[in-house]
Subunit: 572 residues, 2 copies
């Protein structure tokens, strides 16, 4: 098996002799097992969903052009599992996108599934569970793609650190889910801790105690000590920062050090300098810092909550100037991240993100525009989120299988609405908050250019509108603009077509809109959804499909789609 | 669908006009959904696995000859599920036995499975989850089969009560399982509560407090108040008692009232009278009580732990003589159940269980005898249980499917050992405690008579040997005898062939043996295992198969077996 793969690669190399990078591209093989272990991410012992016993899961490090060939074995007792490779486009391998009920059947206990796909763009990515709320159980890790040999990043740095940010609940995902499914809903509340690389400090005001040299904050295990970044003075470091939080939007700041943002979601951006930066769930950034401060001191890195009144202590890490001891406490307090509801500050950061010169520009016109209204709703007394008044329900047969094999009845064939009523007041709670569930999907003409207006609205409660970071699978998109209130046709004239950033995740601000453009040129079925785990669970997502008839059905691994209506019925 | 079933029954009735009961037999239809809900079985709020929102699940009440036709929908988020109908023989419907990886594939989330089977013998049965440790999560309920119309029970009673006994942990089954799978093992410990019909009182010494009229024992919800059995004086009541505990062996006693045992596991027994009775997990009994005590008082019913040093308070119910108030406290203390390790007392009870006259007798000779040594073992440092040094591992393709379709490689084809070394000292820890795992199965000649000697042994620790209640699927068996120490050939001469009780569950006492006989005449694949949930999880079971080639493969629902190696490979 392994031999065969190597030979194929060898042939591919001969065939593409002209290409410099193709022959250096490797197949990176992994054998992973997903299972629960006991862990203490924030010093409270809980179950965490781990990979090969590790939490967070192992970091994958590859180069552009490499193929990841990963056998994933499910060693959970009774639960299915999948893993989504967040930010990887999966061109030609839509069955490897790792979305249960969309691109594949959940992998049953003791079964394996082979994820084989190419990484075709350098950047900071990550992976995570995409079934039920398994991401919130700890099923995630980093995926870093370096430029190909002989290529160079368009900025200089001496070394780098990787910071994967997450939030952590003490209630199991089963309790969280049952709460969300209850009537009335039992909201999961705020996370108990924020984690940096899987480490946090529950109920322990490090900021106060460590600084005063108090020992009231005991770490019962190494697992929850603050992360230390050991640096040398007068060097430049790249920090790769990604957020896979279940709920929390974050802000990150480093005492005394400015940060220069150079990458967002695996795309280079026009460098800009900030004191603190926002990171929404599903986003990734690279920032450069220069260690030009007083080298006799160490410095705090703080991560705090944005967009929701926080009830979670900040996560802290230490920038340790060598040769200082890593346990030497910084002279100054940890930077205080901005007030949670200072949206002007957040917008100011987000609006600065623009494409680096040389980034592909969007097509000048869209073939189709759809508007997606995000609302909080009721369904028979249950709380839901809906898009154009449709709350997403997933089918038992993955769309990729049912669309490729034209299985009738596997999902609602009625196209979902492409707009919402003209008289809907996005500044007020809905007059009629009732919604419906559906499995329907947006099917776009292959290779067409699509504009999506993400329209935020008021939630069920007066004067409440939340932040939602939307993530698109299978594509990057250009962010054309943001605005306040309801999107109006004239707003399109102000779209940035010159240097809009390419992203895979973008935020809509409270009561505002965000416009994006993408080319529907990747045959497959792709989730587009709010990356807040409980919001997706409550229906806040849509399904995009394009060119599925261009997918060679014989290439789709049967394991990926042999469930639901495709069990022994439609497959050859 | 429903129409079709009714017509079939009608035709069946016409065809079998001569049979009185057949035409009164009904198809009882049920639509069930399994999912988690919040519940407070012992006044601590936890997740419980419920059916249609109920915990315990709904009681099924049927008559002999009825067909249960039950659509089970899995509404769990990410977990599979199955339900086993404990004590139902499933003749002709081995795919409806509800054992994951043995008789069927786990039912995936949002999928349904149709359990359709006949109940052919009156008695006290129950049903429960048989995948992972889902039984311990609360997935169980009662199944009562009455004699057919026109038939009579062989004893008189005025009314009846049903008591389903269980134990309850505050740690989730996920935590319990990970603990058992850890190296070194984290033992799950003793249950926090014992439950009667899903109700218990955690950390609340009712015995002490209620009797003294203290109000220190608050019930925060109706859900955990003691069960009240409202009786009239001078009547005879049938108590149906079944135990679906995860771990605890139980003893039940009623203040001032003797009990006459009349049924065990759906088989009538020679009536005998006791002050208290043992019930092991997987067993069911009917006892008669006569309400001939002072009618101005109420009386306690107590359930306590046997066989393990208990760390769980007793469960209590109140026998309420009408017209006394149900909240009037009994004059006397709750009966104290026997000391946990008074094995002489337990044996005395068990040895009294003999078949009622008229019960079918066993064939006089066995065609084959196998001895199954029960040992606690180590496997790479993990703690396991093994039978003849094989710790049961379940395959991903259910045996019923792989055997019926002759799929190579789905399980270990090497027959498991039918005996154990002559020099094995059952009174001492094993000299070499290492074991191995296997998916192998005992395949018996169809219609042969098989004797099984269940041989207990010392556990890993000196002077420790535990009680194990063994449950056989698909059959009743005759209990031929019990003994101390290692079974010897001459013990067979003392087998009771005159009136051995028919059971589906039988206990082996510490350091002892139990002999049973059954006829392998039910085509299918059947689990035979210790009914203690964590013991089964740790490998304490075997697989019996017989006459699988007599199963009509076209009758096996594809849903039952289309997983593992049978996905789109071998099914027509």
């Amino acid at each position: 098996m392994h031999m065969a793969k190597t030979s194929l690669l060898f042939i591919a190399c001969i065939v593409s002799l002209l290409s410099h990078t193709a022959c250096q591209a490797k197949v990176l093989s992994f054998n992973w097992e997903v299972g629960y272990v006991y862990g203490s991410p924030d010093c409270e012992e809980k179950l965490v969903m781990a990979i090969n016993g590790q939490f967070p899961g192992p970091t994958i490090r590859a180069k552009v052009g490499d193929t990841i060939d990963l056998e994933l074995k499910n060693t959970l007792e009774t639960e299915g599992v999948v893993i989504h490779w967040h930010g990887i486009i999966q061109r030609g391998t839509p069955w490897a996108d790792g979305t249960a009920a969309i691109s594949q059947c959940a992998i049953n206990p003791e079964e394996t599934f082979n994820y084989r796909f190419e990484v075709d763009k350098a950047g900071t990515y990550f992976y995570h569970g995409h079934y039920g709320m398994q991401r919130a159980a700890g099923l995630y890790g980093s995926l870093i793609v370096d430029v190909a040999d002989g290529e160079e990043e368009p900025f200089h740095y001496d070394d780098e650190f990787n910071l994967l940010l997450s939030d952590w609940y003490h209630k199991s995902i089963y309790e969280q889910t049952v709460g969300l499914n209850s009537r009335p809903m039992k909201w999961i509340g705020e996370p108990q801790s924020l984690l940096i690389n899987g480490r946090g400090q529950y109920n322990c005001s490090l900021a106060a105690h460590l600084i005063q040299g108090s020992s009231t904050c005991k770490f019962t295990s190494k697992a929850c000590e603050p992360v230390v970044l050991r640096v040398l003075p007068n060097k430049t470091y790249r920090l790769r920062i990604a957020s896979t939080t279940s709920l929390a939007s974050l802000n990150l700041a480093i005492g005394n050090h400015k940060m220069t943002v150079v990458e967002a979601d695996g795309n280079y951006v026009k460098p800009f300098s900030v004191d603190d930066m926002d990171i929404y769930s599903g986003e990734s950034y690279s920032v450069l810092i220069t260690t030009d401060q007083n080298p006799s001191s160490n410095y705090w890195l703080s991560v705090g909550v944005r967009g929701r009144e926080p009830n979670t202590p900040p996560a802290l890490a230490i920038i340790n100037y060598r040769p200082n001891s890593p346990s030497k406490l910084p002279d100054s307090s940890p930077p205080v991240t901005p007030v949670w509801n200072d949206y002007a500050h957040s917008k100011s950061f987000t609006y600065k993100i623009l494409a680096k010169e040389g980034t592909p520009r969007p097509p000048p016109h869209a073939n189709k525009t759809i508007a997606l209204l995000n609302t909080q709703n009721k369904l028979d007394g249950y709380t839901k989120w809906a898009i154009n008044n449709v709350s997403l329900a997933l089918p038992t047969t993955p769309y990729l299988g049912s669309m490729a094999y034209h299985v009738n009845g596997a999902y609602d064939p009625q196209p979902p609405p492409e707009n919402f009523p003209l008289d809907y007041d996005v500044m007020k709670p809905a007059k009629n908050p009732n919604t419906r569930q559906s499995t329907n999907a947006y099917v776009f003409q292959f290779k067409s250019t699509v504009d999506v207006i993400l329209q935020n609205a008021n939630a069920l409660k007066e004067n409440v509108s939340e932040i939602h970071p939307w993530h698109l699978h299978g594509h990057d998109f250009w962010v054309l603009g943001y605005g306040e209130g309801r999107f109006q046709e004239k707003d399109a004239s102000k779209f940035n077509l010159k240097n809009p950033p390419l992203r895979n995740t973008v935020v809509i601000f409270p009561h505002g809109w965000t416009a994006l453009r993408f080319v529907a040129d990747n045959p497959g079925v792709w989730a587009f959804h709010c990356h807040i785990e409980p919001h997706l669970h409550m229906g806040m997502g849509v399904i995009f499909a394009e060119g599925v008839d261009n997918v060679n059905v014989s290439q789709i691994p049967k394991k990926a789609i042999a469930c639901g209506m495709l069990i022994n019925n439609h497959l050859p």
